[in-house]
């Protein structure tokens, strides 16, 4: 590590009111979330400490600001500052100090200055019905804002379920014709970070990878980063053993629910929802701080066609193994020995076989003796059957 970069790290840590050690720990943690090595964590720390920070333009459509809130609470109180410092958040309705024309001017300035280099983040869905008039900012529709900003964006991230699939605004009859970002920009690659709200680390890890390496994480067929959405929640759920053993909560507050049994029968969508909630958890407090962990069935917010679409207490499709109908007993039956009837029956069968054989042998023997006698009478001195010749052994 060269002295200048070391100095930069110190400077950044001082600016953020963090110890250097704390800052490096954070970067290493983010690298671990991405599934990268600790060296990558160091690289990230360096990238973040550079004065040249990527410009981020954060657009808000039909949303509840939950995604922003989630991001702000990503970890220890000081880190919200870090997040705002490692990138240059040039426009965000919820967070920018500027207001009105000033804010709008900042956005335009950032877009001009960083043409083709800025990151565009969309939070919330985009209404399209009646020309998109149901969401207007600075006299323009959200639709126009998105199209305009996307034109020269280096990367586009749709954060939250609304921007990814339409979310709440698109539920049911979809009164505003709310659309996700990828429907508005069909030609662009959109990274979806679904969730209501999404885990902030899934967003941070994606952005930090971009900041550090200039690349984007590997995506699944629904354009979600694989590192975060590669597994079904059910697969790593701490309540999974209860599912496999057939122990279910069947009502809120019943014995099974209080004992932490599987929530499948309460409509938990974990078995069909891809996300890392069960491993990443929320709020950095550990101890099962995520919906299923605290007894609330997963409602499938990260899965298109599940969250906001399926009824909350509808049983989910089990995409892995269904729970068995019958469970093996703890004390397996060890079987029974012979009963008088079965032993008698077997004995009778063997006896009958032996008896019938004896009878048949007797009959055959008798017939053979008679045949021999006949042959003796026919002056056969051997008294035996002649090999090769058709010896007639009549059965009497």
């Amino acid at each position: 590590m060269s002295k200048s970069t070391e100095q930069q790290l110190e400077d950044l840590a001082a600016r953020l009111g963090l110890s250097r050690r704390h800052f490096l720990k954070f970067c290493t943690g983010v690298a671990a979330t991405l599934g990268l090595s600790s060296t990558a964590g160091m690289q990230m720390a360096h990238a973040v400490s550079q004065s040249r920070r990527p410009s981020v333009i954060w657009l808000s459509g039909q949303e509840c600001t939950g995604c922003t809130e989630s991001l702000l609470r990503s970890t220890h109180p000081t880190l919200e500052t870090l997040i705002l410092d490692m990138i240059s958040l040039d426009y965000s309705e919820a967070l920018c100090a500027a207001a009105g024309h000033q804010a709008e001017a900042a956005r335009h300035a950032a877009m001009e200055e960083n043409k083709g280099k800025y990151v565009m983040v969309v939070e919330g869905s985009i209404p399209t019905k009646d020309g998109g008039i149901y969401c207007k900012i600075a006299g323009k529709t959200m639709l126009q804002h998105v199209q305009e900003t996307a034109e020269h964006a280096a990367a586009i991230i749709a954060i939250g379920s609304c921007a990814s699939w339409g979310g709440v605004p698109s539920a049911g009859m979809n009164p505003t014709g709310a659309q996700p970002v990828h429907e508005i920009l069909p030609d662009k690659t959109i990274i979806n970070i679904p969730g209501c709200p999404p885990n902030p680390y899934n967003f941070l890890a994606t952005v930090l990878q971009y900041v550090t390496f200039g690349t984007l994480p590997e995506l699944d067929e629904k354009n979600r980063p694989r590192f975060a959405y590669g597994r079904i929640i059910h697969e790593n759920c701490e309540r999974r053993p209860h599912f496999d053993a057939g122990r279910f909560a069947s009502e809120f507050g019943d014995e099974g629910h209080r004992k932490g049994y599987c929530l499948y029968k309460l409509g938990c969508k974990g078995p069909e929802t891809y996300a890392n909630c069960s491993t990443q958890e929320f709020g950095d407090v550990g101890g099962g701080a995520w919906p299923v962990g605290v007894g609330a069935p997963c409602f499938g917010c990260t899965e298109q066609g599940v969250g906001f679409t399926k009824a909350l207490h509808e049983k989910s499709e089990v995409t892995t193994h269904s729970p068995p109908d019958i469970f093996p007993p703890i004390n397996a039956e060890t079987g029974e020995g012979a009963s008088a009837v079965s032993a008698g029956l077997l004995g009778a069968v063997i006896g009958a076989a032996a008896g019938a054989t004896a009878m048949t042998v007797k009959q055959l023997g008798k017939a053979e003796k008679e045949a021999e006698k006949d042959q003796m009478a026919a002056n056969n001195p051997d008294g035996q059957a002649v090999p090769g010749k058709d010896t007639v052994n009549e059965p009497q």
Binding site: E333, T334, G335, E336, T357, M359, T360
Partner: protein, 408 residues
């Protein structure tokens, strides 16, 4: 072939067929219970003994008993000993019944029988599975046996053209019919290899298992031909075929000698001989099994005895018991589910009645079909009248006995 065989011109419904029909009906009733309420309601099977008498008798031993067609095909078509040809058709019929009912028994024994069809879907096959080999091979052999048996049906319905056409390609079917039992009978031994140390040291001969399985299958096949022919002679009052059977006795003698030499050589090589005399129940069963193997060897080693139908039958029955007990010992009696096991198994009365019923179905089917189709050699029919006239004492009992007998 036509003209060499003809149906027996006898009454279809007799006392033996009635008894057999009743036994079959009892089995069907129990099977209805098994399918309505599950395996547990009928069998004594448990986690330690997932294979009971339905698998070990009806499939493992039953297909061994059904090797008559295979053994004769080897002798008649491979070794080209045409003189045994009159024995082929009755043996094929018995094999057809034995294998078909063995396959059905395997199905009955399956806990989740509704998944059975997956065995035939290539994408579902586990090509490392011995069971797959056995399952597919047995199914294929049932079909082959049916085709081999077709000429009798075609003769009956006088479809000369069809028969001529079939005769042209029949050699291929016969070749497959020799190959398939060689494969799956030896695979029954491979199943035991896969069971590892759960099989007692007296029977776990690992790489030799397939050889023992195929050798015992052949000896059982030849023995069952002698057995069937003897019972047909006495039970249906026909000419003796001892002149043909003694040749088979000679083959059994040679095979048996090989089996016993290998068997004890293997025990000696593995250092398992002390277990023979340790006085346990298993060693006792081993001694009985060995005695049953030795009896036919002794009888058949004497040329004088080989010429006597009665001695041939004793040897054959002893051999059948020996082969059956060998398989019972290896699969069930010498089976230890786990160390310090508390598992026990003895077939329930209902299980036994199903197995008895299935054997009854085989004999019943055999008796009805030899009276319907040209199966038995034609020459004996002429003598029948004299047989019935001359000795009234043999009229009924042996036939009746014959039917109960095979239920073992």
């Amino acid at each position: 072939m036509s003209g060499h065989h003809q149906p027996l011109n006898r009454k279809l419904i007799t006392l033996p067929t009635l008894v057999l029909a009743i036994l079959s009906f009892i089995a069907l009733l129990i099977l209805a219970k098994r399918f309505a309420l599950g395996l547990g309601s009928v069998t004594n099977l448990n986690d330690g003994y997932p294979w009971g008498i339905w698998v070990v008798y009806d499939v493992v031993v039953g297909t061994g008993f059904a090797c008559g067609g295979y053994a004769l095909a080897l002798v008649v078509y491979i070794a080209n000993k045409g003189k045994y040809h009159p024995l082929v058709r009755p043996a094929l019929l018995a094999s057809l019944f034995g294998y078909t009912l063995g396959g059905i028994s395997a199905f009955i024994d399956m806990g989740r029988y509704w998944n059975f069809y997956n065995m035939f879907l290539p994408e579902q096959m586990n090509l490392n599975s011995v069971m797959l080999e056995v399952g597919l091979c047995v199914t294929a052999y049932c079909i082959v046996l049916f085709i081999e048996f077709m000429p009798a049906l075609l003769e009956h319905y006088q479809l000369e053209k069809a028969k001529a056409r079939l005769d042209k390609v029949l050699f291929i079917i016969i070749a497959i019919g020799v190959l398939l039992p060689t494969m799956h009978q030896s695979s029954l031994g491979s199943l035991l290899i896969a069971m590892g140390f759960k099989v007692d040291v007296l029977w776990q001969s690992s790489y030799l298992m397939p050889l023992f399985a195929i050798l015992t299958a052949m000896t059982m096949g030849f023995s069952i031909v002698i057995f069937e022919a003897s019972f047909v002679t006495v039970g249906l009052k026909r000419d003796s075929e001892a002149h043909l059977l003694r040749g088979l006795g000679r083959i059994i003698q040679v095979l048996l000698g090989v089996v016993l030499i290998l068997r004890f050589g293997d025990l000696l090589y593995r250092g398992a001989l002390p277990a023979v005399f340790n006085g346990s129940f298993k060693s006792f069963m081993f001694l009985i099994e060995t005695a049953l193997f030795v009896v036919p060897l002794v009888i058949l080693s004497s040329g004088k005895h080989r010429n006597r139908g009665s001695m041939l039958l004793i040897a054959a029955v002893s051999m059948l018991f020996a082969g059956a007990l060998y398989r019972f010992n290896a699969f069930l009696i010498g089976w230890t589910p786990n160390a310090g096991s508390s598992y026990v198994y003895f077939p329930s009365a209902e299980e036994l009645l199903v197995s008895i019923g299935i054997v009854a179905m085989e004999i019943l089917g055999y008796l009805l079909i030899v009276k319907w189709l040209p199966i038995l050699p034609a020459h004996a029919e002429v003598k029948k009248q004299t047989a019935i006239k001359t000795d009234p004492s043999v009229n009924k009992p042996p036939a009746e006995q014959a039917s109960v007998e095979v239920g073992s």
